[in-house]
Symmetry: D2
Subunit: 387 residues, 4 copies
């Protein structure tokens, strides 16, 4: 196995984008619990995101969601973020919360509704120019609930056409990132349910169209790291939405349900060249903190990604290759597990301190008074949430 | 196979309870779409439920949900329903929409919160006395999201104690019905996740405690009709919450996703003595009509149950038994499928007409003007919904 | 809805290929039960396949599996089949029953083993020339059981290279058909686990490389008809392996577990142009008759496909399109279900009789004496099986 | 968190029973690979089991499977085992590999076949008297493949009767342990598919009837540790069959697929009093080493259980309880994870050395020459396998 000191420099510059909506209230269809200190403005969300970065050094950018994060002056918002030490990142569109989109948006049979959805993406692209964002992320929440309700093939064709129109509007340094999801909110069929569908759609668009892999958007039992390796092989892995799940799209803290799976995913990123300064893959969180506090929830999340990255970097890849080529099943597995089982937390604490960060970001945050401050300050107004 | 005329009388008196909340707005965590004509009061929900019964003859009672259906005068509500030709049925409690219940209700570590949840059930029992309801249905939405968050064993013990207190408050002609659910809204563990847990809890309480089987609350691949047969065998099948699902608890129209499964479930009810005038099993719907119209959605649902009941009654059980005992796998399966593949719709239409019901309840409803009327009348006020 | 007479001619010429191995013994890892009358030679398998065709008119060809169906003289076997009224169809390769392939075949790290596996496919192509078969079907049973055991990315690259070599050996009128499977016999990762992987591999090869969709090879909850529609849209649906499943790759009789799913799949074939004389999609069975008699099991299977095809043809597609474009969710679903719920069996019986076939192929077979004859004749020798 | 020295003594006496069949060949339905050195006799299996114990100190007993391990003189076999330092443990019956049991054994409609299956269990009880075994373990591989094939309710009743007859034959110090399994080898319904069914069957028998939990026998997404906690609460957890799975009953090395799940299971055992000298729960392995070497596979397995036990013992349960009662979701989870993330391997190595065991049992075995010896010695004869 490699030593921590051998991999320490590879941890430099690791960046995990946090979503603005993680700081607002979210929940299940049964209940969204409100919590003291929840942001009421986009600026307060950005401030919370910057706080996560200040304590961890891992979250230098924040993703925005339109229209949840609509502001009049994105240049001002950008400066506000930069003053707090972070950037504005990916712009996420929303075509699932308007009554017109009840039966579809980019796939709708009605041309006017499709155009409305396309126009929304044009608006997002305008925002991107103002924020300096590279990525337009499209999560397609469309589908049908009953067999026969829609023409799945026709919807796929209309989707291709709508995406083409949006893609053509992007500038040369911008990307379209298409997310797939197994099910929900549609329950019979989803228009982009799997990586294969996302891949064929973006491959038809061009080089700057790529796939977003949300770790909670797969069928039970799916080998996600295989998909990671495959998309890297095809040059089409655009970004991650990290979270964890036991059942469906539970949107729990990444690494909380199956840390070994997170380790395996990150290992494939590293071995495939999708980690590090030359990679264009965006690592993002996409989670709902239903019952836990939001900022600590985000801190825990980025730390989990960092810890599993460190473990994955420790794998003795030379020895692993030899064992694989020898067909020594148990030895190859042991070499792999050896890294996973290694406790990197003390080394990471020292590494952080060496870089002016708190050894234990969670404790440092809890002791900083920030949480008490926002709970005291953010009284009145409307708490930010999913809609 | 039996002939329709042989089974026609067995269809008499079939009763499927409809839920008051099916007529209000509901949806996914991403969006609840509003629709014209949605009830704004409990009375309007009851009127819609009565309409479903008027056109189908299948839905003589409506289940209420407390506190969604709180009224000052249940005697008046009962008369209102009876004047419209239906009864008030099962009372459903709600311990998942109060901030106090964020981390548990009947299982909470804090005795005061447990008592509050118990008191809520006492209130429900008071309502039952006023409405003449037999069943108190408890869907336990409790659980934890993260490993270590709670003590699963301690929660189970506290649940047993809370249920005991509630059960002891019931009168001799009332029942406690405990629902189980695989997951959601909790994502790591649910306190009553499976029929086994519900069974051991109600078995500890006594004879008038039984299990509610919601057809959408199982792990992928679960053989639900086996559970039906088992619970009937144990004398503990209390009620059904019918709906259908492709993935999780999708709450689609019953029979829409897998009509053959519904047929198999109803066959087990019939063969086990849980169907007909002597059965105490309550057949209810529990669905969300996210995108389809609600009253037609309910009409389709009760018709689906009726159609699959008719098909299940057609099975030539004598021939089936012979084939089973002969070990003739293909013949036994063929006898079973023969009934499922038989189109009973024309016979059912004639059967309805002979009983003063419309041959085609769906068409009759659509042509009745009721939908247009409520869309015109129910303007202003707050539409009923899940919270 | 359309009438049966409107669709009767569309049923002409329907062809479902049966697999030679369905007539031999197969089973689970725990036990393969032997049955009287099981073929001991390739010729006996072909004779059984021809029997299925004689009674149903639906199974004009039989797929072979190499090396299970190795014979010295394929020209003679071809004449033998043709004399019995059927053709030799798809050639299936086998790279999962040789000790050398324990850790991989077309993906193996050892070039010699890869070459051996490639040579096996060359041999299959030679057989194809002799049998006149169009399709070389490759089910890739390869993968790993433990994380770290293999390099998933390297295996994918080697697979691409091996397939390229095989593809280049095919003549202009031959096709390579690549099957995917979610899991089993490998349990951590499978080299072609999903349609996306199969698609990207065959798309890289060329026009005559297509995908085989086995209906039992998906994750729980997967919408298979969506994949059917998508592959047809991409021009890459090569063939079906029909069977049914409740849990994993159960290999039960097609239509036995979820007849409505089979209906939906066939509807997508029809609406996408993948059904009928102009389609190049091969419809095959791939099942294990573990406990039921094999020839009746095959007869039931092809009849199920025919019955669900008839129902799917009945859909009033014009009315469906109107309802879909109107956004009338319940009406569209009702139009779709209307066809599914229609009992076509009496019409099909008459249709068969009009074409010189028995009205009830299953009864006719059982009364024909064929089963008794083979049970009496096929005594001694080694029964055919999976290995 | 506790320190290793605080928990070191709790690791004393940990015992994991190994199955005799793990040393023979096993595989998937597609292929069973043979390997050099595979035992040809029961004695050779016992010798291999003793070897695992010699190097790990963790496996002091070996489970037998009848009829695979039938010998003429069990007293002699017992002495043979004891001379090698291990005991003969659980006796496993087999009612799935006889042609008579094709459609059922303890549930069969034919009384003669049921009696044959009961007699087989009587024979197993005779063996138990000779071997001094406490537990008769019954894995019920029975069920049906097609809807309608069997009467699920009648089968359940016959099962109860058969089990009663077997249970009554046991002596006062013997137990009946009933295993459940979600599916396979039956594919439509399994007679004991879940813990609930196993529980109601054994609860009806009496105190010495308990449940066996095989970690691979659940639906996707099932929270297994909840079942562990529940069965302990009910006093009915009899034994574990440990293995791991990604998809179905993959029978991989325990801890290989999801080490965190194994940790959670063992934590529930410890907190519920099912671990340690006073517990009567039997911890066993039940795995197939399809592609890896068998003895190293078993060594890895028992080490994984030991390592995760050590981590689970480290949990600071006092602090955890406080955090749980405070409702501090993130802190409770962190305390729990803190133990899981701690690398105990160096401490365990020292602990072993202090007890006269090799620090690294795997290396010690590989260097011992035992593997080379058995590969050289065990030539000729029939390798042991699953049938």
């Amino acid at each position: 196995m490699k030593t921590f000191s051998e991999i320490a420099t590879l941890l430099e510059g690791q960046a995990i984008e946090v979503p603005s909506w993680a700081y607002g209230n979210s929940g299940t269809r049964f209940k969204v619990f409100g919590t003291p200190g929840t942001p009421r403005t986009v600026e307060e969300k950005v401030a919370d995101a910057a706080t996560v970065h200040r304590f961890t050094g891992l979250a230098p950018s924040v993703a925005l969601h339109i229209p949840w994060d609509l502001v009049d002056d994105y240049a001002a918002l950008r400066r506000y973020a930069e003053d707090l030490g972070i950037r504005l990142g990916t712009i996420n569109s929303n075509t699932f919360q308007d009554d017109d989109y009840k039966l579809g948006a980019l796939t709708h049979t009605d041309e006017k509704i499709r155009q409305k959805a396309i126009d929304h993406h044009f608006e997002c692209i305008d925002v991107m120019h103002a924020t300096g964002s590279r990525d337009l992320k499209i999560w397609l929440a469309e589908g049908t609930n009953y067999p026969g309700q829609g023409d799945m093939r026709g919807r796929q064709d209309r989707l291709a056409e709508s995406l083409r129109t949006i893609y053509d509007r992007l500038s040369e340094d911008q990307r379209l990132v298409l997310e797939y999801k197994f099910f929900e909110p549609a329950f019979y069929h989803t228009d982009v349910p799997d990586w294969g569908t996302s891949y064929v759609q973006v491959a038809a668009l061009g080089e700057r169209a790529v796939v977003c892999l949300d770790t909670g958007h797969h069928a039970p039992g799916t080998n996600i790291e295989f998909i990671v390796a495959q998309l890297i092989r095809l040059g089409k892995l655009g970004s991650f939405d990290f979270n964890s799940r036991f059942y469906a799209d539970d949107d729990l803290i990444v690494g909380a349900a199956d840390p070994f799976q997170l380790f395996r995913i990150l290992f494939e990123c590293i071995r495939g060249g999708a980690y590090g300064p030359d990679s264009e893959v965006a690592y993002m969180l996409d989670q709902c903190h239903n019952i836990e506090k939001k900022i600590p929830g985000q801190i825990r999340s980025v730390l989990n990604v960092q810890e599993m990255t460190a473990r994955a970097l420790l794998v003795d890849t030379d020895a692993l290759t030899v064992a694989q080529e020898d067909g020594d099943v148990l030895l190859a597995n042991e070499i792999f597990m050896d890294a996973f089982y290694t406790d990197v937390r003390a080394d990471l604490a020292a590494w952080r301190e060496g870089r002016g960060l708190p050894a234990d970001p969670m404790r440092a945050y809890l002791e900083s008074g920030y949480q008490e401050q926002i709970e005291a300050d953010r009284v009145g107004g409307t708490q930010a949430g999913w809609s």
